[in-house]
Symmetry: C2
Subunit: 289 residues, 2 copies
């Protein structure tokens, strides 16, 4: 997805929020905000919003000297979600359509997104999402692809949310035979996106056949990047790909064969998808359709 101009003030607001996470000193907050202004002016706006977000959050980390501003938030939501785990598992087990319930819960978990805003109610969202109609609902393609797949690439989004992803993956493995699952996480901290630390903390590594792939965003990353041919090759070799959340949609919506699973949380994403804020989406990217 391209960068909409609306993303620019929003990313500046994000920089300020992040600055307030790392310090109460208004002078430092102001310095970070000024650097973010300059950063936003200097960056190439013809990339994806997520790439610009990485530049902005690198500025926050550098100026504050805090390597992971959202670490405490991520831990908090990992813990909250882990406490919910057995209840959520029961919901899925007792459902007449376990996979569908697990899909809905995975979307509900996507509300834990500090990029879109810090005002959300996880419990209420779970209840809402379990009841409401999907706005985009490519379920038959999803089931059909899953049926013949030997491997699954799962592009994770946020800490806390990955507990909900774990339940979805476990539910898929209970119903379908898959040799390998590649769980894609971020190779450096950005907002509250899940890193390897989070994935291990919530026990994603205990799932049989799972492997982690750490991927960076933007040209400044050291290892494999979301926009690298190397990564696209991995995607091309995957039988089935699930992309969680707005960030993955922003970065990869023009790649085919990805099932985007998310809640629309910002006006720009909602507009791009042709839906309203709060709508739930299971969308096969156009590439394959």
């Amino acid at each position: 997805m391209k960068v909409y101009l609306d993303c620019v003030p929003c990313l500046l607001r994000q920089a300020l929020e992040a600055a307030r996470f790392v310090t109460n000193d208004e002078k430092v907050q102001k310095k970070i905000l000024k650097k973010a202004l300059i950063g936003l002016d200097g960056v190439n706006w013809d990339t994806s919003p997520l790439e610009i977000a990485h530049v902005i959050h690198r500025i926050v980390r550098k100026e504050s000297g805090v390597d992971d501003p959202y670490r405490a938030i991520k831990r908090k939501y990992n813990d909250i979600a882990l406490k919910m785990y057995s209840n959520l598992k029961s919901m899925v087990d007792q459902s007449p359509t376990p996979l569908l319930t697990a899909l809905r819960l995975a979307i509900a978990g996507n509300i834990i997104d500090y990029g879109a805003g810090s005002n959300f109610d996880l419990d209420r969202t779970i209840l809402d999402v379990l009841e409401k109609e999907f706005k985009i609902y490519d379920l038959s393609e999803f089931m059909l692809t899953l049926k013949t797949a030997n491997n699954l690439t799962y592009l994770a989004d946020n800490a806390g949310e990955i507990v909900f992803d774990k339940i979805l993956i476990e539910t898929i493995l209970g119903e379908y035979d898959l040799d390998k699952i590649l769980f894609v996480i971020k190779d450096e901290p950005i907002i509250n996106d899940a890193t390897e630390e989070d994935a291990i903390y919530v026990g994603i590594d205990e799932i049989q056949g799972i492997e982690f792939l750490k991927v960076g965003v933007g040209v400044l990353g050291n290892g494999m990047s979301y926009s690298s041919k190397e990564f696209w090759k991995i995607l091309a070799q995957s039988d089935m790909i699930i992309g969680k959340g707005q960030g993955n949609y922003e970065s990869l919506s023009d790649r085919g064969k990805i099932f985007f699973l998310l809640m629309a949380k910002c006006p720009v994403i909602a507009k791009d998808l042709g839906v309203s804020i709060g709508d739930t989406i299971l969308k096969l990217s156009e590439g394959l359709k």
Copy 2:
């Protein structure tokens, strides 16, 4: 009122909104947004939000070549409010407390504020404000000051809203003897703030004893400025001062003897006043209390 850091992303959003008023060309919008980023970095953040807003909107006007981006919007709301005029006058006339009803209507008209955002419902706001309790309510000081005043300085805010101000001033003149009313408007276009063109269009000049004073905001203005000693001297010589809307509060909340009449419409102003968004305010500035 000082600039809160939250104002910076908000002013950038305002620049984008203004850019979209003047052109559909995304290249021009982008250019304006980039210039606004640089402008926000370069400006002194130790002034008032309104002064920075002036710098930003000057950039929009200069880059777009449009001398008054909100001219059509201002005309639209002048016309809407003029159509309401006789109904609103009847409401006041039939009220057991005409002055209080006129005060409430003047606050309702303050919703026509494109600085705070373009999503508002004027009709609903009028009904709401007529019913709801004031959150800050210095009415007895207001009446007491009015009783002994020979002149009134009225710091206007937005186009359209000034029709509601006209009704308030007419109601005051119906109950109190005043020799002179100084109606203060902006000397250059900024957002949808009322200028002389608007004041004459809605017939403010027909009020007996009224004089216009055109004042600029910020150091770049050519004539008298909000932050000039010349202007403060006029305020000091006024028996009674009414300051409409957020912009006047932002600029002059540290000056005494001003009755601020507004609806809180942004989180920063609400926080500064210790109220919630949507609350209605009649506040005598601390200077005199």
